[in-house]
């Protein structure tokens, strides 16, 4: 084993940040102004939504699970926020609580299915995605309801777009989320237990840890973060639309993996996943600046993920 002053996990996180910086540098070469402050903040703003979803995905992946219900939990959250707030500031708080609650409940249901009903995570969260999709479409009549066209309450739009100290509010929010999630994972009992379960659920159980309850909570958190991203996306774009959650499944998993979180669980952290979200978004922006068509982006996406996976090394568990 090589003598390195940094752990392999820390190196992966650094690699993810390095990739992000590199992409901005490349962008600056191919497109003057790419690395300007305004351009960077607008790219980071886009990365925020991926990053928030990735926070939830990160929690679940850390215990060796996966959340495929992201697209419709996010989409349903966006719709619920619009329809329950009716674009009025006075109803915004109520709508936000309701929406986050919906995400939390959907996540908990995933956790219950995985932990107590013994349904494989892939199947349970896939089914949940369908369940929420059906409910969202059915209850809104396929987005034809009167309230469906509602705009986000101005206060929510402002909480995304308003600029504080030159930086959009949503970015500040993401920064807070990064700090909180990193704090929770790194310094709290809950975080420690999460790593313990991801590392060796049997050993964690034999050390007296309530593995089931913790796992259910982690799925709940994933639902919560998807819902939060949905709320902010409505604030960002103004209205909810069908299919707005679809890209976030692939991107959240990709961000988590690029950020060095092991898909088998137990290793990695949210700092890395956040960097993954940034580099992914920066990559897209660079490719856009190069006038790369859609298909090219899709291909390069896949190639970059494969390259990083191979770079990070083999599955050390076996």
């Amino acid at each position: 084993m090589k003598r390195l002053s940094l752990s392999p996990d820390a190196l992966r996180v650094l690699a993810a940040y390095g990739a992000a910086v590199l992409l901005f540098v490349i962008g600056a070469f191919v497109h003057p102004g790419f690395a300007s402050f305004g351009s960077i903040t607008s790219i980071l703003l886009v990365a925020t939504f991926v990053g928030l979803v990735a926070a939830g995905q990160c929690f679940v992946v850390l215990v060796g699970g996966i959340d495929l219900s992201v697209p419709w939990v996010l989409n349903a959250a966006a719709i619920l926020l619009a329809t329950s707030s009716l674009g009025q500031d006075s109803r915004a708080a109520y709508a936000v609580v309701l929406t986050l609650g919906m995400g939390l409940v959907a996540g908990f249901a995933n956790g219950v299915g995985v932990v107590w009903l013994g349904v494989p995570a892939v199947v349970m969260t896939l089914a949940m995605n369908g369940i929420i999709e059906g409910l969202a479409l059915g209850l809104t009549g396929g987005m034809t309801c009167g309230a469906c066209a509602s705009y986000a309450p101005p206060v929510i739009a402002a909480s995304v777009h308003d600029v504080w100290l030159g930086v959009p509010a949503a970015l500040w929010l993401w920064l807070v989320v990064i700090l909180i999630v990193s704090f929770v994972l790194g310094l709290t009992r809950f975080g420690r237990i999460t790593y313990a379960i991801g590392n060796n659920p049997r050993a964690a159980y034999l050390a007296g840890i309530n593995v089931s309850l913790t796992t259910v909570c982690l799925y709940g958190l994933s639902g919560l973060f998807s819902a939060l991203a949905g709320i902010l996306l409505v604030g960002f774009g103004g209205q909810a639309s069908l299919g707005m959650g679809t890209p976030y499944l692939f991107q959240s998993i990709a961000a988590v993996v690029i950020g060095g979180v092991s898909i088998l669980g137990g290793r990695g952290n949210y700092l890395g996943a956040a960097a993954g979200a940034v580099s992914l978004t920066a990559l897209v922006s660079v490719l856009l600046a190069l006038n790369m068509p859609d298909y090219g982006r899709s291909i390069i996406y896949g190639v970059v993920i494969l390259a990083l996976l191979l770079l990070y090394g083999r599955d050390q568990r076996e």
Partner: protein, 334 residues
Amino acid sequence: MPPEAAEPPRGRTRRPVLAHVVGQNIGLILAVAILSASIVIFAAMFVVQQDRLPGSFEITSTVNNTMPLALAAIGQTIVVLTRGIDLSVGGVIDLTNALAAIFLTGGVWHMAVVSVLIVLAGGVAGLINGLIVGFGRLQPIVVTLATLSILQGLAIRVLPTPGGSIPAGYTAFLVNTNAPTALCFLALAALGWMGFRRSRLGVDVFAIGNDEQAAIALGVKALRTKIIAYTIGGMLYAVAGLFLAASATGGDATTGDDYTLTSIVAVVLGGVNLFGGRGSAVGAICGAFITTMIVNILFFAHINPLYQSFYEGLFLVIAVVFGALIGRLVRGGR
């Protein structure tokens, strides 16, 4: 393996052969039972509303609609049996569907050669998955997620906008709209599965899904087996892409996207264990038909089609939970 208390020999009491067949194929049997039940329910609803039994038209359209999913599910089954999972299904179908729309023209021989080449292209995609999963020792779920993205991109590159046209003769050959002749292809696939199950390769696939380390100790070439499994999977998705092109009589580079997830659903409904080593492609075919039948039933039950995925998702969870429960009961708690 922890030592367990020594059990006394169970003596000569043996379960009848039938009990073993039932116990060891409970997933398949449940899939067949659910499929039969759904067909009966569908037929009953049909009779009530249309005053006649479902006829050739209904059967043909059901079979033709299900063919691509059934084929994709067989491929997914083989990968899942190795304790893997393949998310690139949708990408392979997209790409092969697009290729078909562009290159399938001309005479019979030309179409035959093009078809074979397209299936080989699917095989190459699978081979790449297998090589990366095998040699890279990486998790299949992330590897195939990445190749999914690549294949989707390639598909759009090949066919930027939906279009192209599939010669009518080709469509008639694969998906005869007048009679469920596509069932012949399914029978062929089932036959192929039975051969696979009885081949050295089949045994190896099941063995590594059971316990990779033990299989290696028994002399199974795990790496090679995995690579072949992903390759066969890719070829089957390609065939699914051809069927999809034939029934749509044109190509669309995004039409395959749904198949990644629906193939997993079909496999799960078909009683294939997602953790490898147990299951049957025949079950997966049943699983594919169950998903189609559910859509049919929901339609005849006048359920608002917007709620369709809600019922499908609910049904999936219930089927998996009860399937596991019944399996445990049949095996007597072992």
